[in-house]
């Protein structure tokens, strides 16, 4: 029972964070601990009533991240199969976002060191771009094609099989 009391003690403590555009958010300490950056701040006693300032994370993605961490912290250890399934469904719905939000989540989760969310956003981005042509990817990532036409043709010929895209490119991006 001692462990349960400790857990309850932890989650009673609310941690305040402030977005780059000045909005305040609150989450249980257990949720904040899922972020490497916040955990270090808490350990260093930097979490006070004024809130931890997150200078590069705007309110919109921060609200999502607080959601994510709160949900995952509530169900962190000793999951039943049903709970694990439910968390999976939560993740799948959670990451159904537009490209702008996906981008913000990629960058913010990386900055805040929220490993599970980083992986989720990275996998989602990979799923979105995997069926694309090189040209579509150049557009998505703002890359200039620096191959000569001859070189490009040669690369395509060398790996002809890889350029036969059977599925229509996924939406978004």
């Amino acid at each position: 029972m001692a462990a349960a009391t400790d857990d309850a003690g932890d989650s009673n403590e609310m941690i305040r964070v402030v977005s780059s555009d000045g909005e305040h958010f609150e989450m249980p300490e257990a949720a904040a601990n899922l972020s490497l950056v916040l955990r270090h701040m808490i350990e260093d006693d930097c979490a006070d009533a004024a809130g931890i300032p997150l200078a590069v994370v705007a309110a919109k993605p921060l609200a999502k991240i607080v959601d994510y961490c709160t949900k995952h912290a509530a169900k962190s250890s000793g999951l039943t199969i049903e709970e694990a399934e439910e968390l999976k469904r939560f993740d799948a719905e959670f990451i159904e976002v537009d490209t702008d939000m996906l981008y913000d989540l990629l960058v913010a989760a990386d900055f805040m060191g929220v490993e599970g969310l980083s992986k989720l956003a990275v996998q989602r981005t990979a799923d979105l771009i995997k069926g694309k042509t090189p040209e579509q990817n150049r557009e998505t990532f703002g890359i200039v094609n620096d191959f000569t036409p001859e070189e490009e043709e040669e690369i395509c010929k060398e790996n002809e099989w890889a350029f036969q895209i059977t599925k229509p490119p996924s939406r978004l991006c």
């Binding site: 990386d110 069926g131 094609n145």
Partner: protein
């Protein structure tokens, strides 16, 4: 703020480490295609460190895959060709990987588990190394078997020597080596050179292995070598001794033989389970199909010992 990195026109810029992370989750086919995006993408997606990362991601523990090849051609468009498939637990229907262009509708089967994306294949026409992700196929030269194109070899008719093949990887040099060991079960006399090595992407010929295998052991084609922790493991006929071959320095050693009674068990097969050397066999003298699976624990240590993992009774 993140938005500052976004450029007009909807494209966005990501730090290299996040971008590499994303690309490492792509299927091999997409990775190869995206090498045509730009010079820097090509360099990054072709680098040894990326290939290593991609392999790790593709072989996550929660993404176990089965690689297989049906005995009969399955593609209505190409009835004379067989396909290889990969299937993932809970991953929907099996995915067709490629057509084999080397078996011509005949027997062809993976000899080894995929090793870093490469598979050793035995067909009626000889041995091949293939990369199912890129469709690359390499026919291995066969100077000891000038008649390798003859189907006789499959049945291993007398007059030919026994041979056992294996595919290994040397992490220090990044070399893939195919190894084959010959033995003569009839005379028990080993040929002068009975261990040979073929290095992929190097000289296109077999060369003698640095050290030769002990001549008293008999290898068999139905017991291909199992690669694990830098060592190829070969099970010998008549006694189930396990010979190891170090792929880096090409020396031979031994591992404890699986503790099975030679008289009780007909055939033992070596394999890799969960990072351990494994052995399995069918229960002899029994009408129900029951299989025993053993694991070699503490492989690299003095304390190495075999431990029975389970007995699977197919009737139950």
């Amino acid at each position: 703020m993140a938005g500052e990195h976004k450029e007009a026109g909807g494209s966005f810029w990501l730090p290299d480490d996040i971008l590499i992370d994303i690309l490492s989750y792509l299927p091999a086919k997409s990775v190869v295609r995206f090498r045509a995006v730009s010079r820097s993408w090509r360099a990054m997606l072709s680098s040894a460190s990326f290939v290593e990362l991609h392999l790790r991601r593709a072989n996550r523990r929660d993404q176990l895959k089965v690689f297989f090849h049906p005995a009969m051609p399955t593609d209505a468009e190409h009835p004379d060709k067989c396909c290889f498939y990969s299937w993932q637990l809970h991953g929907g229907p099996a995915k067709k990987l490629m057509r084999d262009d080397f078996a011509h509708g005949w027997f062809a089967a993976p000899v080894t588990k995929p090793l870093r994306g490469l598979v050793l294949i035995r067909s009626s026409y000889g041995y091949y190394v293939l990369n199912p992700s890129t469709n690359a196929v390499l026919a291995l030269p066969d100077r000891k078997f000038p008649l390798k194109n003859r189907i006789d070899l499959v049945t291993n008719l007398s007059g030919y020597m026994n041979v056992s093949y294996g595919l290994g990887y040397c992490s220090a040099t990044g070399e893939y080596k195919v190894v084959r060991l010959f033995s003569d079960p009839v005379s028990g006399q080993a040929p002068a050179t009975n261990g040979e090595v073929f290095v992929l992407d190097a000289l296109a010929c077999w060369r003698p292995s640095a050290q030769q295998p002990p001549p008293e052991f008999i290898f068999d084609e139905s017991n291909p070598a199992v690669f694990l922790n830098g060592l190829l493991h070969l099970l010998c006929l008549y006694g189930f001794d396990v010979i190891t071959f170090n792929v880096s320095d090409e020396t031979f050693g031994s591992a404890p033989p699986p503790p099975v009674d030679v008289d009780e068990v007909g055939e033992v097969t070596l394999t890799e389970f969960d990072g351990c050397l494994g052995a399995f066999y069918q229960e002899a003298h029994s009408d129900n199909y029951a299989y025993h699976i053993w694991l070699l624990r503490d492989h690299a240590h003095e304390a190495a010992h075999w431990e029975q993992l389970c007995r699977i009774d197919m009737a139950a």
